[in-house]
Structure formats: structure tokens, C-alpha cells
């Protein structure tokens, strides 16, 4: 792909992002941050390419470390978002109070 096509995708995506994010309800701004954090770990793609490529041992180890860091983020980000969103379920009955403030999902 040439630079102009890539730039076009980028600029369009910025506009999409602008409109999509303004439509997010303020009550869900914390899950929004958690999930944007999780999806920005798509940088793992670059780390995987670096790790899998032949040619430089240093580059391979940097890539592998990148894979570990990004994986923390992918699994952690999506899991914590899912945990938060589960709390926003409509409640039909008063659920029991959790006194210790956590551990419940």
C-alpha cells in the first residue's frame, strides 16, 4: 500500500472515531478507556512479525518481549472491561451486597 492510501484510511478512521466516541454514554467512560486500551494492543501484530522474522536475534527477543507486554494488555483489558460491563446489567431483584468491595463479576 502506498502512503496516500494508508493516510486516507487513517484520516477516515479518525472521523469514525470522533463520531463513535461522542455517542458513548458518559456512564461507560471507564469501560471505554479499558476497551480502547485492550484494542490498542493490536500492536501485538508488529511484535509477532518481529519475533517470527529471521535475520536479527536482538530484534527477535525485542519482539517476544513485546508479545508478552501486549498480551498482558489484551487479556487484562478485555477481561476487566467484561467484568465492569457485567455490573451494568439490569437488575430485577436486589442482589446481595458485597461488603469486601470486589472479587465479584
Amino acid at each position: 500500500m502506498d502512503f496516500i492510501s494508508i493516510l486516507s484510511i487513517f484520516v477516515m478512521a479518525c472521523f469514525v472515531g470522533y463520531y463513535v466516541v461522542w455517542s458513548v454514554t458518559p456512564a461507560l467512560h471507564t469501560p471505554l478507556m479499558a476497551v480502547t486500551n485492550a484494542i490498542s494492543s493490536v500492536i501485538v501484530v508488529g511484535a509477532l512479525i518481529a519475533a517470527a522474522a529471521a535475520g536479527s536475534a536482538t530484534s527477535k527477543w525485542l519482539g517476544l518481549l513485546g508479545v508478552v507486554l501486549a498480551s498482558v494488555n489484551i487479556f487484562g483489558g478485555f477481561a476487566v472491561t467484561a467484568r465492569m460491563l457485567a455490573m451494568y446489567k439490569k437488575k430485577d431483584r436486589p442482589a446481595p451486597v458485597v461488603q469486601n468491595g470486589g472479587g465479584k463479576s
Binding site: V20, M33, N73, A82, K90
Partner: protein, 495 residues
């Protein structure tokens, strides 16, 4: 290894995962669609990772990555070569990181969410730096250099900017994490000449990135990386605790731009779309937070807010104020028709959200109309209070934003303020000399009775200003730990 253009189907797969990420954010427009959205995000990420593995992994995508089957590419020979990673090593790396992330996400308390998000931002930043360096050291693998190892000029700029933004995100997020976790003082640290130092460093980073297009030397990119780590640190240390919601949003934005810059380097659609989404998301959240504090983005970045917290201490304790007991509060709350509860960060610190919900339930059982009012900057990150109330099983349709509930205070019998202060300070509307002047605040003074839970009369909000509400005729100060006081009110209500 000679770079081979990725197959067309993989480009399509990356595009699909980019679209799924858009749908993930779209789902957050309402709590009912949000869980489906999160699942779209997970599917998108799976598609991106699997596609990359199939195309690039040794042994799996041999035919695709190495047409012609060159002897040093793919096959069992790779297992013995030090510079080629094995499938096992890659899967182990994913499993290790995944396990750490998953366990952390399960265990973290909701009150600690801001520091968790800051820590996660730092990982994205570091990953961007690592990928950028890997691309610099092995450019042919990414298809950005000729056989002679000379990297294309345009790729060098993208690489330099990606590494710089990633490094700023990393060191900035580490400082934000330390401040939010209380491992470092939340007070702003002001260096002399800091604006000159910061501006000089940024100019140096941009200048060196430009020079990088002429000189591909290691020292250039190493200096850019080092300077970017330093500037990330310098940018965040002067910013005080009250401005943390803006800082967390801003670093969120940076982590997106870092991913986008790497997407440009790797010509990867999924990374570019995601980077743009995350970058604009963080930027919009920063804007919303700044607007809610009536502060300009520049003044937040310049830092120093909350540094002089004690200029009016002497005058304020002399004025008369009324102290109430839990029994008095319970009586008035039980008799009320409309109650608006205003929680702030103090509620989170006291872990009082669960007992607060219990008190709300008791009042509802008595026929009282209970609503919760949340200021955009309540808590340490955007939407933090909403999550804490959701955790305590407060139905989200009882929780209102500032502009939606402002008109209800005139009909409100009791405004119940727990752990909030600056967001109910009328000085923001009247006193032009106040540091919080112009910030939108709740019109609590229109309520018939104001109950203010506070630990003592001594402390003031983050802005360090006295609050007129303490001394109003209709105000009842409930001086105690927030959780203890609410528990006592519950007991008194039960009688």
C-alpha cells in the same frame, strides 16, 4: 530474509478486525449493547493475532511467507536457529502475558481502576518502543528497506515518531500510575525552567527524527528514545492529583497515536484504524474532562494546579456551622420526598458505595424518590463513579449526569453529599477570584436541606478553596468517616 508482500486475504482480515474494533466502541453507546460490543472487540483481536501467526509463523505459514521454500526459511531447521523464534516460544509468550493480564483483571478492586488503566497504557507504550526498535534492527522483515539494509526515508519518520510517542506514553503512564496508586505524592513537582526544558526536549526529538532521514545511525534513534522517555517523565510530574482524569485520558490518546504510527510503519490497516479510534477517544475524553473543570488543556499540561493549597486556612474555622447526628439525618431523609445523592472520590476512598446503595434501598422502601448525581470529574478517571455505583448494584437508570439533574435541585428535599466538595462549591459560579471559577457545579443550595458528610471541618477539596455550602442555614454537617456515617444512618432508619 527477503520480505514478501502479505497475501491479499490477510489484508482483508486486518480490515475486518479494524471494523470489529469500531463496533466494539459503538456498543458502548448504551449499557445494554456494551457486552456484545466487547465480544466484537475480542473477536477482532483474535482475527488479527491468528492472521499474523498464519502469515508469519515459522512452520505454519511456510508456503505463504517463503514461496519457493528457501533453505533458511521455515521447516524444522528454524527450531535450531537462535535468531528465529519457534511457535512454542511465541505461544508461551502469549500465554505468559495473557495469564498475568487475566489474573490482574479478575483481582483488581474497582476503586483501583485508574491506576490499572495507567499501568496498561504504559505496556502499550513500551510495546510500541520494542516494535519500533525491532523494525529498526531488522527492517527487511517488515518490508521497509532494500536488500542493502537502507530504510526508506518515510518509514524512518514513522518509526522515529512511533518510538517517541510510545516512550512518552510509557514513562508518563508510569508516573501517572505511581501518583494514582499513592506510591508517589500527588502534589505537583515543579522544576525551575521546566517550560524551557520541556520545549527544548520536544524540539530536539523532532529535530533528531528529521535528521534520522539523512543518517540511519544507531545513535540518532537511541537519543530520540532516551529523550522521549525523559520528556514523558517531565511532562507528568508537575501535574497535580486533581488533574489526573485529564492525564489518564491524555495518555490513553497517546497510546493510540503510538499504535497508529506503528501501523504506518508496518502498513497494517488494523493497527491504523485502532490507533485512530483510540487516539480520538482519548482526545475527546481529555476535552470532556477539561470542559468539566473549566480549564484549558494547555493549563493542565503546564501543570502546577493545587500546589498552593493552604492560603485561606485561618479565616474559615471561625464561621458558624451546624453539626448533625446520624439520627437527625435519618429522620429528615425518611420524611423527604426527593433525595439526590452526590458521591465523590471520598466515597470511593471510604469504600462506602455498598452501604450507600443499602441506604438508598431503605429510603426507596419508605417511598422516597432517590437519585444519584455524578459530576464528570468525580473520581480519578472519566466515569469512575458510575462503575463504583454499578458495582454496588445501583441501577444505572437512577444515576444522572450533571446537565440532566441540575433542574431537579429546586424540588429536592435533601441533597446528600458524600465525599464530594469542589463539585458543589457555589464559589465556582460567583467568586471570580476562586481557582475553580467557571467550573460547572451542582446547584445544591437550591435544595431544602443539604447534608454534607465530611471527615472533619479542616480539610478542603483538591482546589484548596473553602466551601460556602458548609455555613449555609439549610446545611447539616455530618462529620465522620463516610462508611461509618452511612451505616449509622441505616441503623437509625430501621427504627
Amino acid at each position: 530474509m527477503e520480505h514478501v508482500a502479505p497475501p491479499a486475504w490477510s489484508m482483508l482480515a486486518y480490515l475486518i478486525s479494524g471494523i470489529l474494533f469500531i463496533l466494539a466502541l459503538r456498543g458502548l453507546s448504551s449499557p445494554s449493547t456494551s457486552r456484545t460490543g466487547n465480544r466484537f472487540g475480542m473477536i477482532g483481536m483474535t482475527i488479527a493475532v491468528v492472521t499474523t501467526l498464519v502469515v508469519h509463523m515459522p512452520g505454519w505459514g511456510t508456503q505463504l511467507a517463503c514461496p519457493g521454500g528457501t533453505p533458511d526459511c521455515g521447516g524444522f531447521g528454524d527450531l535450531l536457529r537462535f535468531d528465529v523464534v519457534t511457535s512454542f516460544e511465541i505461544l508461551a509468550a502469549i500465554a505468559l502475558g495473557g495469564a498475568i493480564g487475566w489474573v490482574t483483571a479478575r483481582k483488581i478492586a474497582m476503586t483501583d481502576m485508574p491506576q490499572l488503566v495507567a499501568a496498561f497504557h504504559s505496556l502499550v507504550g513500551m510495546a510500541a518502543v520494542l516494535v519500533g526498535w525491532a523494525a529498526y534492527l531488522n527492517p527487511q522483515a517488515f518490508g521497509i528497506a532494500g536488500p542493502d539494509g537502507v530504510i526508506e526515508a518515510q518509514s524512518r519518520i514513522e518509526m522515529g515518531l512511533g518510538i517517541a510517542i510510545g516512550a512518552i506514553t510509557f514513562s508518563g503512564s508510569v508516573i501517572a500510575f505511581l501518583k494514582l496508586a499513592g506510591k508517589m505524592s500527588g502534589a505537583p513537582i515543579l522544576l525551575p525552567m521546566r517550560h524551557v526544558i520541556n520545549l527544548g526536549t520536544i524540539v530536539a526529538i523532532l529535530g533528531l527524527t528529521a535528521w534520522f532521514t539523512r543518517d540511519q545511525g544507531l545513535w540518532v534513534i537511541a537519543t530520540v528514545t532516551a529523550l522521549a522517555f525523559i520528556i514523558g517523565f517531565l511532562l507528568i510530574i508537575p501535574i497535580g492529583g486533581a488533574d489526573m482524569p485529564v492525564v489518564v485520558s491524555m495518555l490513553n490518546s497517546y497510546s493510540g497515536w503510538a499504535a497508529a504510527a506503528m501501523g504506518f510503519t508496518l502498513h497494517n490497516t488494523a493497527m491504523i484504524i485502532t490507533g485512530a479510534l483510540v487516539g480520538s477517544s482519548g482526545a475527546i475524553l481529555s476535552y470532556i474532562m477539561c470542559r468539566a473543570m473549566n480549564r484549558s488543556f494547555i493549563s493542565v499540561i503546564a501543570g502546577g494546579f493545587g500546589a498552593v493549597a493552604s492560603n485561606g486556612d485561618a479565616a474559615k474555622t471561625d464561621r458558624p456551622w451546624k453539626r448533625g447526628s446520624a439520627e437527625d439525618a435519618a429522620f429528615l431523609l425518611g420524611e423527604a420526598e426527593n433525595v439526590i445523592i452526590i458521591p465523590g472520590y471520598g466515597m470511593a476512598v471510604a469504600q462506602a458505595q455498598h452501604v450507600l446503595r443499602e441506604m438508598g434501598d431503605q429510603l426507596k422502601a419508605k417511598g422516597v424518590n432517590v437519585k444519584y448525581a455524578i459530576h464528570p470529574v468525580a473520581g480519578r478517571m472519566p466515569g469512575h463513579m458510575n462503575v463504583l455505583l454499578a458495582e454496588a448494584n445501583v441501577p444505572y437508570d437512577e444515576v444522572f449526569e450533571l446537565e440532566d439533574i441540575q433542574g431537579d435541585f429546586a424540588q429536592c428535599d435533601v441533597a446528600f453529599i458524600i465525599g464530594a466538595n469542589d463539585v458543589v462549591n457555589p464559589a465556582a459560579k460567583t467568586d471570580k477570584t476562586s481557582p475553580i471559577y467557571g467550573m460547572p457545579v451542582f446547584d445544591v443550595e437550591k435544595a431544602k436541606t443539604i447534608m454534607f458528610i465530611k471527615r472533619s471541618m479542616g480539610g478542603v477539596g483538591y482546589a484548596g478553596v473553602d466551601n460556602e455550602v458548609f455555613y449555609m442555614d439549610q446545611t447539616m454537617m455530618l462529620l465522620a468517616d463516610a462508611k461509618k456515617m452511612v451505616e449509622d444512618i441505616i441503623k437509625a432508619l430501621a427504627h
